[in-house]
């Protein structure tokens, strides 16, 4: 709870500090704010508390996911150094919006009441609609914001519709009570309940860009400034999946049989669309957008495994995916700024000009592809072992395995470009000190978790 309050206060404070002439102080300050929030959040570990008549519960699940989301933001913020020198960028507002959206994200992982889930999603989303269009002069950015907003509003409506129907069927918004209501009637309830459940599933699937509700993702991710794309594809996705699992585990465990077929169809479709879609892209940024869809698929796999390992495998996967993605988007941002292109060819020769950038990018690509020695391998490993506890789901793992091999194809295109393709000009890309430090930190973290995954996998 303290972290929600702190984030709100810091967000507002940031806006006022933005009135100062120099923007230089904003970045260190934002980093400081986030470090404070990260630390304060950890104080709630093993200290479960409920707030506002049981609307929010800060338990270990909430603390762990809050930690990941704050850490992700913390690692992302240094890449905003480019905005410091830009005259007409609204840096203070950007930071405030990120801090506010984190408030929404924390509500999404700690809600106890469906209304809180809805409010959390809205707080998160509205900030995202704004930042997607933050590059006011770019047509693509405007298009992205509009598309995201229209689609987002529509699907929020669907989600709300679903919540109301479930309320109609059970008479409560509290997720534990909804779960209890089904047990009282022996599992599945009436058709209104089923319809509501389906609408909620669709609403959240949209937010985590699961197929077939993913169609906005490539355009929005590509159009939005890369800095915010990175936030959307990491923090928003982590919050969405964590909220999704919490909802299913607390409220709809008894109706497992009713939603399982739908969810499994969504999962398989997401895996296929994400991986196959990424193969045919010519732009690295668009590839990363599709790859984020495919990772939503792997995350959903651990959700549908629906057993005691699900929560920790989602946690580990989110962390490894988020850190690797931040590095990938971060390097992409630096490269694109210099070369003016987000295509694969922009990476040509990076291994020679900027060994550090190239190495960080390689490690994050290996991690996203799930190759051992990186966190991504254990992330996939935990997902597959969670799913295989029900050995009748072997077929799902086989599909995922084949698609993971497909994934290597598009991730390695970047690696090949960096180390093996000749470049037109070998001009070194200048990297700010904060960004360099962050890239080193992420690389070390990714390899560390790839060697000793127990550091994180055992905490939940």
């Amino acid at each position: 709870m303290t972290s929600i309050i702190l984030l709100s206060v810091f967000g507002i404070a940031n806006l006022f500090i933005g009135f100062m002439k120099s923007k230089r102080i904003l970045l260190p300050l934002a980093i400081l704010f986030l470090i404070v929030v990260f630390g304060v959040n950890l104080l709630s570990w093993n200290d479960t508390q409920s707030y506002f008549n049981n609307m929010l519960t800060i338990d270990n699940y909430a603390v762990a996911f809050t930690g990941i989301m704050v850490l992700t933001t913390l690692l992302l913020v240094p890449f905003s150094q480019r905005y410091v020198n830009e005259k007409d960028s609204n840096l203070a507002e950007y930071y405030s919006l990120l801090l506010f959206s984190l408030v929404g994200a924390i509500m999404m992982v700690s809600y106890e009441n469906m209304l809180m889930l809805f409010v959390g999603i809205e707080i998160l989303s509205i900030a995202m609609y704004v930042v997607a269009g933050s590059n006011k002069k770019s047509l693509r950015s405007n298009e992205a914001a509009l598309k995201y907003f229209l689609m987002g509003a529509f699907f929020t409506g669907i989600l709300l519709f679903g919540i109301v129907m479930i309320y109609g069927a059970t008479g409560t918004f509290n997720i534990t009570e909804i779960g209890a209501a089904q047990i009282a009637t022996g599992g599945v309830m009436n058709s209104m309940f089923i319809l509501g459940l389906l609408l909620v599933v669709i609403g959240i699937s949209f937010k985590i860009s699961a197929a077939p509700f993913h169609f906005w993702t490539p355009d929005v991710y590509e159009g939005a400034p890369t800095f915010f794309t990175a936030f959307m594809s990491t923090v928003v996705k982590t919050a969405g999946v964590a909220a999704f699992f919490k909802l299913m585990a607390a409220a709809f465990a008894a109706s497992y049989a009713a939603w399982f077929p739908t969810m499994i169809a969504i999962t398989v479709l997401t895996l296929v669309v994400g991986n196959i879609g990424a193969v045919v892209q010519g732009s690295a940024k668009r590839m990363l957008a599709y790859s984020s869809i495919s990772h939503a698929g792997y995350l959903l796999m651990s959700l549908i495994a629906f057993n005691e390992s699900s929560a920790s495998s989602i946690l580990f996967y989110s962390l490894s995916y988020a850190t690797a993605s931040i590095a990938a988007f971060g390097v992409l941002m630096l490269v694109a700024d210099q070369k003016g292109s987000e295509k694969y060819e922009a990476f040509n020769g990076l291994g020679r000009t900027n060994p550090l950038l190239a190495f960080a990018m390689t490690v994050s690509m290996l991690s996203l592809a799930g190759i051992p020695l990186t966190a991504g391998f254990f992330a996939k490993f935990f997902v597959f072992s969670a799913v295989l506890q029900d050995s009748s789901l072997m077929w799902l793992v086989i599909i995922a395995v084949i698609l993971a091999a497909v994934g290597i194809y598009y991730y390695f295109r970047v690696v090949i470009a960096m180390y093996m393709q000749p470049a037109d000009n070998y001009e070194k890309i200048r990297v700010g000190s904060f960004a360099s430090f962050t890239l080193i930190f992420i690389t070390v973290l990714t390899i560390l978790l790839g060697i000793a995954p127990a550091l994180v996998s055992d905490i939940l």
Partner: protein, 483 residues
């Protein structure tokens, strides 16, 4: 403890080498590889060759909640494979002294790093550690081949990489499944896998999941399509690592993780695997006869040789398995030597085409002798190392089914055909433009070839030195398989 030092020393040395600027890196890398060899001899001295179980073991929890442990150790088979690795890596590094690769520190660091992966595969006694090391060995070799390789390297090595990862992901899925079948709080220890009571239906499909991974690595026909191109396009050192050591990972994987884990699956499919292997022998040999590029020729000959090893170990009798183990050593030594000789010829003449070579014997007596010995080892002439292995393997296959044995025996005749044809074309005849001013071996080249040739004779004359190390382990595995 010595096992852990053996495992981590190359990785540590790799970090050290990375820091060295310029061509000095190769000397440091060579020194580090020699230290590793000395360490492995020390391990040998502490090894009880009477015992068929795991020795020099080390075991501590890795992912405790999941029952996954960092469990390493060696039995006789592992030890021989480790010795092969530690023996060949210094020679491979030494063989590169004439090359000035760009970014030498990265090049040699990757070789040493790969050695950690290779040793890890051979000493891992936990399924997930094995898988982990399996991929750790793959990543450096991919970069070595793809960055320092020939013209088509990007496409070719990428195919190799995706192909092997694709296979190994199936292995991972099978391991996860087996792991979840272990009783109680699950464990992925090799002995727990050996004790699983799976029905024949389960064994049947797990067999394929594991076999695909190993068959791609070896490679067994028809999973070999990545191999000739990759061998040809890679820099010589990478080709040596791939053919000399990495291919043994696949065979070792079969011996350790396939045969004893799913024995019923193996007996169900052994006939098919033997037929595939024998097709590989004949197919590899015939294509080798038709090759004009020396590197491709050896690449195809390697498919034939590996085919025979695969056929031998799937017979599940003592001769077959022992022959497989000893032939892994022999093949590693011979193929590394032959690739090095091709590299020597290529560096002097700038060609690998048999038709544009010839008459090298006239200028280079020393080279001819070494070439001849390695070649005879490769065609399994008695007194050389190849003979011991092929004899045992064929004896094993004959015991299994004499028709298979007869067809597999073609390898000896066909092998002689393509090898001698190659030798004739390259070494005899009139000098060509390219070989006009051919110079004999330098000291450095002799330093690489002499240890190899010594091993050719050692294994050929006193095979018991090596067979006795692996015998208890092989018998132990056979009791597990026949339980």
């Amino acid at each position: 403890m010595i096992t852990a030092i053996l495992l981590f020393w190359p990785a540590l040395a790799a970090l050290l080498v990375l820091l060295i600027k310029g061509q000095g890196a190769k000397k440091v890398a060579f020194g580090a590889a020699l230290v590793e060899f000395a360490l492995s001899l020390f391990a040998l001295s502490g090894f009880n060759t009477e015992n068929g179980g795991t020795q020099l073991a080390l075991n501590f929890p890795w992912i405790e909640s999941a029952g996954i442990s960092f469990s390493i150790g060696m039995d006789g088979i592992s030890l021989l494979m480790v010795l092969l690795t530690t023996f060949l890596v210094p020679l491979i590094v030494l063989s590169s002294f004439k090359h000035d690769y760009k970014n030498p520190n990265v090049f040699y660091a990757l070789i040493l790093f790969m050695q950690t992966g290779l040793i890890g595969v051979f000493v891992a006694m936990d399924a997930f550690l094995f898988y982990f090391m399996w991929e750790v060995a793959l990543i450096p070799i991919y970069f070595i081949a793809a960055v320092w390789g020939g013209e088509n390297r990007i496409r070719v090595t990428f195919k190799f990489f995706v192909y092997t990862i694709f296979g190994s992901l199936f292995m991972l899925a099978a391991f996860v499944y087996l792991y979840l079948q272990t009783p109680g709080t699950h464990t992925s220890n090799v002995n727990a896998f050996y004790q699983l009571a799976l029905n024949s239906g389960q064994q049947s499909w797990i067999f394929w999941f594991l076999f695909i991974a190993f068959a791609i690595k070896m490679p067994v026909f028809p999973f070999h399509t990545w191999q000739p191109d990759t061998y040809t396009e890679s820099p010589t050192q990478a080709t040596m690592l791939l053919s000399g050591i990495m291919l043994k990972m696949g065979i070792y994987g079969v011996i350790r993780w396939l045969l004893p884990v799913v024995p019923m699956g193996v007996s169900q499919w052994a006939d098919l695997v033997l037929i595939l292997s024998i097709i590989g022998i004949v197919y590899g040999s015939i294509i080798a006869i038709r090759q004009r590029d020396l590197k491709r020729l050896i690449a195809y000959s390697s498919i034939a040789h590996v085919g025979l090893i695969a056929a031998g170990i799937f017979t599940l009798n003592e001769q077959g398995l022992q022959g497989g183990v000893i032939q892994m050593l022999s093949h590693g030594i011979n193929v590394v030597g032959l690739f090095f000789i091709i590299d020597i010829i290529f560096r002097r003449t700038n060609t690998r085409e048999i038709t544009s070579l010839g008459g090298i014997t006239q200028n280079a007596k020393g080279l001819s002798i070494f070439f001849m010995i390695l070649l005879l080892g490769s065609v399994a002439l008695p007194l050389t190392n190849g003979f011991v292995g092929e004899f045992l393997l064929l004896a094993g296959v004959f015991q299994f089914n004499y028709i298979y044995g007869a067809v597999a025996g073609l390898t000896i005749i066909l092998g002689a055909v393509y090898m001698l044809r190659m030798f004739q074309g390259v070494m005899f005849g009139t000098k060509s433009e390219a070989t006009e001013s051919f110079t004999d071996l330098t000291l450095n080249e002799k330093a690489v070839l002499i240890p190899l040739v010594i091993m050719v004779f050692w294994i050929g004359l006193f095979p018991n030195t090596f067979l006795s190390i692996s015998e208890p382990a092989v018998m132990n595995l056979l009791t597990i398989i026949k339980r």
